[in-house]
């Protein structure tokens, strides 16, 4: 299991990378492993507002539909449309396959650093 040190993580198993004013969001290696093979990603639209702790889309795997929970509040400025055609990228490259980019971040959930998140996952497993 991979936990890149430069990222922050939510307890809902999303990762966040802050680049200037932009928060880039995806799902963690732990999350993709728990989901199993992803068959569809229900993506939001550019310009949609997201709220910290609320669902902004969902991921359907062979096991279940699971909500994608935003770790931050703000406005979606980019959506990774490639996931519509290649949802399995979330399994093969969870840290490369970003889902949304959010700007104007006004609030965020409690975020963990890589070490704390790894410990959190060890408890959940």
């Amino acid at each position: 299991m991979n936990f890149p040190a430069e990222l922050k993580y939510s307890k809902d198993h999303e990762w966040v990378k802050f680049e200037g004013d932009t928060a880039i969001i995806g799902i963690s290696d732990f999350a993709q492993d728990a989901l199993g093979d992803v068959v569809f990603v229900n993506l939001p639209g550019e310009g949609d507002e997201v709220n910290a702790g609320e669902a902004f889309g969902d991921v359907e795997s062979v096991k279940a539909v699971s909500d994608l929970v935003s770790p931050v509040s703000g406005t979606i400025v980019a959506v990774n449309e490639e996931l519509a055609d290649a949802p399995e990228t979330l399994n093969s490259d969870p840290y490369g396959a970003w889902i949304i980019k959010v700007e104007g971040v006004t609030a965020q959930e409690e975020l963990l650093d890589a070490a704390a998140y790894e410990a959190f996952c060890a408890e959940e497993a």
Binding site: N42, D58, A64, V65, S66, D67, A84
Partner: protein, 328 residues
């Protein structure tokens, strides 16, 4: 930790209200317990969260015959419900979510009637190789649900008819249904009734979870939330507006020439209409394109669009007739 078992049986058979209740039980149900929710929908096709409605069911046929299309929160394929089908939902804390344990309840109830129920793959229950139950799962925050169908004596002719692939040419992204050979439990064991199955499900749940079942009562807040969510489930936006893009095409030859339509549909709206013909002037196909783009992907909205433009009446009538014959 689960510390109690609750039962809730829906009295109505409206699919939108029943799905709303299910979501309320997920989001506002007792935090410490497992809820077994039993419900039935009359004459309804229920599609998975990420399916394209037109691709999975013969929507116009279903609606012409008084049926309804609903979309659920969980994934997977399209199913047909009528009063010969009993639905069950286990709603519980995510940490207690245990598919084999939940399926054990269903299998035990079926076996009490002598049905040799077996778990097949992740999602199905079968007896003698015939599927009688399909299951699907949804997780949100700290809660999760597992629901499924139980074919008791459902109208399998309707099931086959509504879930057979539409005749129109349609290509869609999204999750495709997997077709199975299905059978009613009543054919295998005529003594099974809905009431008897409900009793056995409750008894089996009490044994597996080791609690005495209590009846769950909706609070006024839960009832109000159910009413609000019923509107969501009944809305066109939820049922047909999912982010599952599709391309629809049809073609027909008339005395005046051949016309073909290619429509891109996103979230239930026609975003691009290609109109190709060997007969009409280019201006005319542009008129038709403009009449369709931006409208709902429904026969009535498309007909309204065509009636709003100035074109030769016989051409308009032929195109309208072509659209009327499509399974949209």
């Amino acid at each position: 930790m689960i510390s109690s078992l609750y039962i809730y049986s829906a009295s109505g058979s409206d699919p939108f209200e029943n799905l709303a209740r299910e979501q309320v039980l997920l989001e506002r149900g007792p935090a410490d317990g497992v809820v077994l929710y039993l419900w039935q929908n009359q004459n309804t096709v229920v599609i998975g969260r990420n399916q394209n409605a037109w691709k999975e069911c013969r929507l116009s046929l279903l609606e012409e015959e008084g049926g309804r299309l609903a979309r659920r929160l969980s994934g997977g394929g399209a199913v047909f419900h009528d009063l010969g089908n009993l639905n069950f939902t286990f709603l519980l804390p995510r940490e207690d979510f245990d598919i084999p344990k939940q399926l054990q309840v269903i299998c035990n109830a079926c076996r009490s009637f002598g049905i040799p129920a077996e778990i097949s793959g992740r999602n199905d229950l079968t007896a003698a190789g015939l599927k009688f139950s399909g299951n699907a799962f949804y997780k949100s925050g700290s809660r999760a649900y597992h629901h499924g169908t139980l074919l008791l004596n459902a109208d399998l002719d309707k099931l086959t008819r509504y879930l057979s692939p539409p005749k129109a040419k349609l290509e869609a992204k999204g999750v495709a249904s997997v077709r199975s050979r299905v059978e009613n439990l009543c054919v295998m064991e005529p003594s099974i009734t809905k009431e008897a199955m409900m009793r056995q499900l409750i008894t089996a749940a009490e044994k597996v979870y080791d609690f005495t079942a209590q009846e769950l009562v909706f609070t006024p807040e839960m009832t109000a939330e159910t009413a609000r969510l019923t509107e969501k489930y009944a809305s066109r936006e939820w049922r047909l507006g999912a982010n599952v893009p599709a391309a629809f095409s049809c073609q027909q030859t008339f005395p005046w020439g051949t016309v073909s339509l290619e429509l891109q549909v996103e979230r239930g709206i026609i975003t691009h209409a290609g109109v190709f013909t060997d007969a009409m002037a280019w201006e005319l196909s542009q008129l038709i394109r403009q009449a369709l783009e931006g409208r709902e992907f429904s026969r009535s909205a498309m007909q309204e669009g065509l009636l709003s433009i100035q074109i030769q009446p016989d051409i308009r009538d032929d195109v309208l007739r072509m659209l009327a014959e499509q399974e949209i």
